[in-house]
């Protein structure tokens, strides 16, 4: 024990050992960019975000340390615990802004749906690994239930944004595990056919958001305000942008939630098409790196998990940018690694840590 204290070099080596420098390098680029935007959008929140980032990096480092085999053991308890918490939320959760999403534990409030973004793909990857030898129709049905149970609970809260992300995370596992194209086609058509029915299940405000997307000018000062103003911000940015700190839409408070869900509007306004393309490129690189890690992963479990986590990053990014630029309805999905807020950051970096761990253990012989 005392020996370690005298070898700071070795310490440092141990500290960075599980970390993938390529992925971290890309992330560092993205985070630097994000800080720049945050300073413009809401400078007073920079310190907090740095703190959030520190916590998230610790989580990443811890996750990176955990070998995939250990993660497998965590899959079932995390998933079952998560579902129980979701049930608890439905029964005893705090209501805020018309939705029941938070669980008050007395000393802190938690949002269990956030956990499911990792727990669901973990559980499904574990399930497929377990039934790797023989996949029967029944296994697919069970997998579908594993996915739909928490998604259903989250939709009911209601929290469409998180539900979409959790569903996407789980669905990617199913897809990568080889869900047959026929089934997917059937599901797609079935889904389209049941759209009118689904419409009746939506909450009024959810329907309104979809209608708003189709015609935001119908209520420019009310429900269409967010989307109109963010679209104006993006469009007025032009090719080169208005320059850092010069976004009028941003600084005159026309952009709602400019430091969280709508931070992309700030980036777009101030850095223009060039800045957007740069952002897309970094995301593409990170996702590419993640897919590469998945491709090289040694076990089915780690392959599925890595692929799924990577694609969650993509889902976050696509849904958020699509929403801010007015091609997707407004759902509460932050821009990954960029939006202000600790919860999303911790979840995302937990995912990064898992990716790193999978990458680190790619050569180890399994079992």
């Amino acid at each position: 024990m005392a020996e370690l204290a005298f070898r700071p070099r070795e310490w440092a080596q141990k500290l960075v050992a599980p970390i993938d420098p390529v992925l971290l390098g890309m992330l560092a680029l993205l985070l630097g960019y994000a800080m720049l935007v945050l300073v413009s959008a809401s400078p007073e929140r920079l310190n907090n975000q740095i703190l959030n980032l520190a916590v998230a990096l610790v989580v990443m480092r811890v996750a990176a340390q955990v070998p995939p085999q250990r993660l497998m053991h965590l899959a079932l308890p995390l998933y079952v615990g998560g579902v129980l918490l979701l049930v608890a939320v439905a029964l005893f959760g705090d209501i805020s802004k018309g939705a029941r999403r938070w669980l008050n534990l007395g000393f802190m409030r938690i949002q269990p749906s956030e956990l499911m973004k990792i727990a669901v793909p973990l559980m499904l990857a574990w399930y497929f690994q377990k039934h790797e030898a023989m996949l029967r129709a029944r296994d697919w049905i069970v997998a579908a239930l594993i996915l739909l149970l928490p998604v259903g609970l989250i939709v009911r809260q209601p929290d469409l944004g998180t539900a979409i992300l959790v569903f996407a995370a789980g669905f990617f596992v199913l897809f990568l595990a080889g869900l047959s194209w026929k089934v997917m086609a059937a599901l797609l058509f079935g889904g389209l056919a049941s759209l009118p029915f689904a419409w009746t299940l939506l909450h009024d405000y959810q329907r309104q958001r979809i209608l708003t997307l189709i015609d935001p000018e119908a209520d420019p000062l009310g429900k269409g305000f967010h989307i109109i103003q963010s679209t104006i911000a993006v469009g007025s940015g032009g090719i080169l942008g208005k320059g850092w700190g010069n976004g009028t839409q941003t600084h005159l408070e026309f952009i709602p939630e400019r430091h969280t869900d709508f931070i992309f509007a700030v980036l777009s306004e101030e850095f223009g098409l060039l800045g957007n393309t740069f952002l897309l490129a970094i995301y593409a690189l990170i996702i590419g790196r993640g897919l590469m890690i998945a491709a090289n992963a040694p076990t089915l479990f780690s392959r599925l998990l890595a692929g799924s986590i990577t694609l969650i990053f993509f889902t976050y990014a696509f849904v958020n940018m699509g929403m801010v630029s007015g091609i997707l309805p407004v759902v509460g999905v932050p821009l990954p690694f960029v939006s202000y807020g600790g919860t999303a950051l911790v979840t995302l970096f937990a995912g990064v840590g898992i990716l790193m761990s999978i990458h680190k253990h790619r050569m180890l012989v399994q079992k």
Partner: protein
């Protein structure tokens, strides 16, 4: 096991996984490409559109309302000006619970039920995003109290505003008119004048009188501030400023002191007086009694006050000088006499023998003097106001000759004074009757109807200003001017003074000898006739004519003032000009239900002339007059 198990080949498995991974990679790129296309569309193709919208968002033009021009009388006495005061204003759209907010405000600032009522009325009349005053003229202490607690009242603000003030209160209220908050009708007027831009931010508009007629002179040029605003509409900083240009001032022909003399002379009596400078048409006094306090209207009149003004039997809101049409009674006689001379129907020397009545078609038209005036020539007919002379004259002339002559003098047509909404009165003629009535038997003019026209009764109905204008025309030897209140419009930005042109309206080429006959007769009225009492001891030579107009026909019964209800009593009239040889003032005065013209109207005229010609202020008590024989 209802289905054969799927046996796995690890190699195949990995290959399929990587295929799937490749597919997802492709999808990711496709999705990002889709986003890129969207960005390209917004930021390159549609950039200009969104750029414009962002600018529109950002920059707001805030109008700066100019100072309204002031109104002064011919000697510089201020009749309408502006002063700055604090108001407490609420923007209804920014307040969720209006009633609650007002109740809370009432705890720190005195808000009376009538303030609430007025606010509610303003609320009905306005759009929601305007800020509306709940209290005006806050004291400094009230301002301080509100400022200390204003965080509790979103949507409520203290504003420093310019208020219109009429320092002389009721004086000349009908001439000045008043301004009030812009309403739908005013917006229509603004639109018609293509002045929408200049009226952005303007909250007040001239409603009546000069304030209305000269609205676009008084208003001025609205300035603008280009202000950067945030999404909440709050100004962040000023980008540029175009200063407003204050409105033009009005300098009136009116003499405030003279006006005051008249209004005091009227006291509690109802009526009207118009005094004109014959050589220019400039109005020296325009009185309609009772008046009202125009200050009441400036910020939205309290409903009770409005109710009071409108239900009062005295009808203070009616401008009697322009909108009251009264039979002129015997004041019509000098004009009839001039008509007789000009049409050759009479010479001054021709006489009639007056038995005290005139029979026509089985009907007896009585003279006021029992037994008649005896032998009467034109001079005497005016001086003693002999009715029979004019019954006969009217019958000889015929209705169309009379109306043709009187139309020239402006009777029965608006004078064109610079105040809106003047009545035209009634100049009876065959044509008028044909148009006025529906049934054929009513449309026909009967010769018998012409008789009482001669003494200013019958269908005759003229406004006091028409009477004053005609009197001024005679005083000015037939040269008629359009009566006007504004001497010149003063542009305080350039110092330019634009006179309201004193060009004659028309020149009536009466024979000077004829005019002289009339003048002499009217001088006689005040020297030895019906106006003698009123003008006893005057240090100038004046010309006048008394008149009494029937309000109520007693159908032959003898009229006894004391026995008739006050409101049914005759109206008293008087016309005058002086000095008789070089008149500087001509006037017509009417006292509603005043009885004989000599008794109540002539003394007012005397006070006016005394003040105007000698600068003499009246003794407090008006002389009492005994009943005296008087025409009509």
């Amino acid at each position: 096991m209802f289905k054969p198990a799927e046996f796995k080949n690890p190699e195949q498995e990995i290959e399929r996984f990587q295929r799937r991974l490749a597919v997802t990679g492709g999808l990711v790129l496709a999705a990002f490409f889709l986003l890129f296309v969207r960005f390209f569309w917004l930021q390159v193709v549609q950039h200009e559109h969104y750029q414009t919208r962002a600018e529109d968002n950002r920059i707001s033009l805030v109008p700066i309302v100019p100072n309204r021009g002031v109104i002064v009388d011919r000697n510089g006495v201020v009749l309408a000006r502006n002063y700055s005061a604090y108001t407490l204003e609420i923007t209804p759209s920014r307040v969720a619970d209006l009633e609650g907010a007002i109740n809370e405000l009432a705890r720190i600032i005195d808000i009376q039920p009538k303030d609430r009522k007025r606010f509610r009325k303003l609320l009905e009349e306005s759009r929601n995003f305007e800020s509306l005053p709940i209290r005006t003229r806050l004291t400094d202490e009230e301002v301080a109290r509100f400022i200390a607690q204003r965080f509790r009242f979103p949507g409520v603000e203290i504003k420093a505003r310019l208020f219109r003030q009429y320092p002389q209160a009721e004086l000349a209220s009908h001439a000045l008119g008043y301004i009030g908050r812009v309403n739908e009708r005013d917006l229509g007027t603004i639109e018609k004048n293509n002045a929408e831009d200049n009226y952005r931010g303007t909250e007040h508009f001239g409603k009546t009188g000069l304030e209305q007629k000269y609205e676009f002179e008084l208003h001025g040029q609205t300035g603008f501030e280009q202000v950067e605003v945030d999404a909440g509409g709050r100004a962040v900083r000023v980008l540029s400023r175009t200063a407003p240009l204050p409105g033009n001032n009005l300098v009136l022909t009116l003499d405030a002191k003279l006006q005051q003399v008249v209004e005091r002379a009227f006291g509690k009596r109802r009526g009207a007086l118009v005094a004109i400078e014959p050589s220019s048409g400039g109005i020296l006094a325009l009185v309609s009694m009772p008046g009202y306090d125009p200050n009441l209207f400036v910020d939205g009149i309290h409903p009770q006050d409005w109710e009071l003004l409108n239900t009062s039997e005295d009808k203070p809101m009616v401008n009697r000088a322009l909108n009251g049409a009264y039979p002129p009674g015997s004041t019509f006689k000098p004009f009839m006499a001039l008509a007789a001379l000009e049409t050759g129907k009479r010479t001054p020397q021709q006489t009639i023998s007056d038995p005290g009545f005139f029979n026509f078609g089985g009907h007896t038209f009585r003279d006021d003097k029992k037994g008649g005036h005896g032998v009467v020539d034109m001079y005497k007919s005016i001086v003693h106001s002999c009715d029979t002379y004019y019954y006969v004259l009217a019958n000889d002339m015929g209705i169309d000759a009379i109306s043709g002559f009187m139309r020239q003098l402006g009777f029965g047509s608006p004078t064109g004074i610079d105040i809106e909404g003047e009545s035209k009165g009634v100049l009876p003629s065959q044509e008028w009757k044909r148009k006025r009535f529906r049934k054929p038997e009513q449309q026909k003019w009967y010769a018998g109807e012409t008789i009482s026209i001669g003494i200013g009764q019958g269908y005759n109905a003229y406004t006091p200003i028409q009477l004053a204008q005609a009197t001024a025309a005679i005083a000015n030897n037939g040269v008629m001017f359009r009566p006007h209140l504004v001497k010149y419009v003063e542009n305080i930005n350039t110092g330019e003074r634009r006179p309201v042109e004193p060009e004659p309206l028309r020149v009536l080429s009466y024979k000077p000898a004829h005019l002289e006959v009339i003048r002499q007769a009217m001088v006689g009225v005040n020297k030895e006739g019906t106006g003698t009492r009123a003008f006893a001891g005057a240090e100038y030579v004046s010309a006048g004519k008394t008149g009494t107009a029937q309000v109520y026909s007693l159908k032959g019964a003898k009229y006894e003032a004391g026995k008739v209800q006050e409101r049914l009593r005759d109206h008293a009239l008087f016309i005058a000009f002086a000095p008789a040889d070089q008149p500087t003032i001509a006037l017509a005065v009417l006292v509603e239900n005043g009885g004989f013209g000599a008794q109540s109207a002539a003394p007012i005229a005397r006070q006016v002339l005394d003040y105007w010609l000698l600068g003499k202020l009246p003794k407090d008590a008006a002389p009492e007059f005994e009943e005296e024989g008087e025409g009509g």
